[in-house]
């Protein structure tokens, strides 16, 4: 209980700016009338509604002019709104923490980026994103390499047999061989996964891996109609490699990794 209380409230930029006139923007959708999504917004359940311009709408909630820390609580609130909206709409997600000073500033955004938003919404129509992280169990992968790679097995046997006399060089050599074989195995797994998912996805993007156990940190763009096939395929691959690899599979998400509109935004003073 006290742990949560300890989380600091977002820091006001200036005391005078701390009114609730700001608009936190979650995403852009195509909708030509206003809509209320309920009290699910960031900062403790603010009402989420739309600001419309022609047939576009920004999904927003009122907020004081603050900088939102990317705490899990805040990020989850942002994601939850997008998930809710996503059930009915194709959406362009905004970056976490995007705050405009007024409703008018949001309208200006919709107006000035109208064409780009419209084009991307068209392209993203009925597309969803899945995240796939693959981690391996190093010890088990090493064991499987030692089992399958003749050269490594022979060298290792030799070292174990002549434990006392085996040279530093031989051990170094073994280490290097194992390292190289690991890298090759990692690449092979990643290629295999991409290959298997190619037919059930529209596009994929590999992000930087996190930590030393991860070999794949990718996002896949999937057509809604292929969601089930994609799902089945991921399960099939993860089952095939369950001894060696751990699959972290998340989604469906809005196409966070596949929308790249460079908004020309500047700090509002």
């Amino acid at each position: 209980m006290s742990e949560l209380e300890k989380q600091e409230a977002p820091s006001p930029l200036t005391a005078s700016a701390n009114s609730a006139d700001g608009k936190y923007v979650y995403c852009i959708i195509r909708l030509d009338r206003s809509r209320d999504f309920g009290e699910i917004g960031i900062g403790g359940g603010a009402r989420v509604y739309t600001i419309n311009y022609n047939d576009l709408a920004a999904v927003v909630s009122d907020t004081p002019i603050v900088i939102y820390d990317p705490t899990r609580e805040n990020v989850l609130a942002h994601e939850f709104v997008n998930e809710t909206v996503m059930r009915e709409f194709t959406l362009i997600p905004m970056s976490f923490g995007t705050v405009f000073r007024s409703e008018k500033d949001v309208s200006v955004l919709l107006k000035s980026t109208y064409q780009a938003f419209t084009d991307v919404l068209e392209k993203m129509q009925d597309k969803i994103e899945f995240g796939l992280k693959i981690l391996w169990d190093r010890d088990r992968v090493v064991a499987s390499i030692e089992r399958d790679n003749d050269e490594i097995r022979r060298l290792k046997d030799e070292i174990t047999r002549n434990a006392a006399s085996s040279t530093y060089f031989a051990r170094m050599q073994l280490g290097r061989l194992v390292e190289a074989a690991m890298e090759e195995a990692g690449n092979r797994y990643v290629l295999h996964v991409h290959d298997q998912l190619k037919d059930v996805s529209v596009a994929s993007r590999s992000n930087k891996v996190i930590g030393d156990r991860m070999i794949l940190n990718a996002a896949f763009l999937v057509d809604r109609k292929d969601e089930k096939s994609f799902d089945e395929k991921v399960k099939e691959i993860s089952l095939k490699f369950e001894e060696l690899l751990t699959f972290k599979y998340t989604g469906p998400w809005p196409p966070y990794n596949f929308v790249n509109i460079k908004l020309k935004l500047e700090k509002a003073t």
Binding site: E3, L4, K6, Q7, E8, S11, L13, A17, G22, I65, V66, I67, Y68, D69, P70, T71, R72, S95, G97, T98, V99, F100, R101, K104, D105, V108, L109, S112, T113, K133, L135, K208, I210, G211, M214, T246, K248, L263, K264, L265, E266, K267, A268
Partner: protein
């Protein structure tokens, strides 16, 4: 002439140039370290992964997250101090004035 002077006076000027260059370099490196939030964001992602993998519990996550948020805020302050762009805070469409 300039070069020759430098060479001739090297014993006297050398160390001064050297020091200045080093300080500039140190300044730059320090500035980069103070204003780069990439490693902090990576730490946050790694922490999140550890929670997902069940390696740490919720309480520990919250504790470490608070530390990471402190570091992020610090970087943000330094970036502001150096006049660099920062994520978060109110934005508006660039170049649009408040007319109409």
């Amino acid at each position: 002439m300039g070069l020759l002077t430098n060479i001739l006076l090297a014993p006297f000027l050398g160390p001064i140039y050297g020091t200045k260059w080093t300080l500039d370099k140190v300044d730059r490196v320090v500035r980069e370290q103070l204003t780069d939030d990439t490693p902090i964001k990576e730490d946050l992602m790694a922490l999140h992964l550890r929670l997902e993998m069940g390696e740490i519990d919720d309480a520990e996550y919250v504790r470490r997250e608070a530390e990471i948020m402190d570091r992020l805020r610090e970087v943000r302050e330094w970036r502001e101090r150096f006049g660099m762009s920062t994520a978060g805070g109110p934005v508006r469409v660039a170049g649009e004035d408040d007319e109409e």
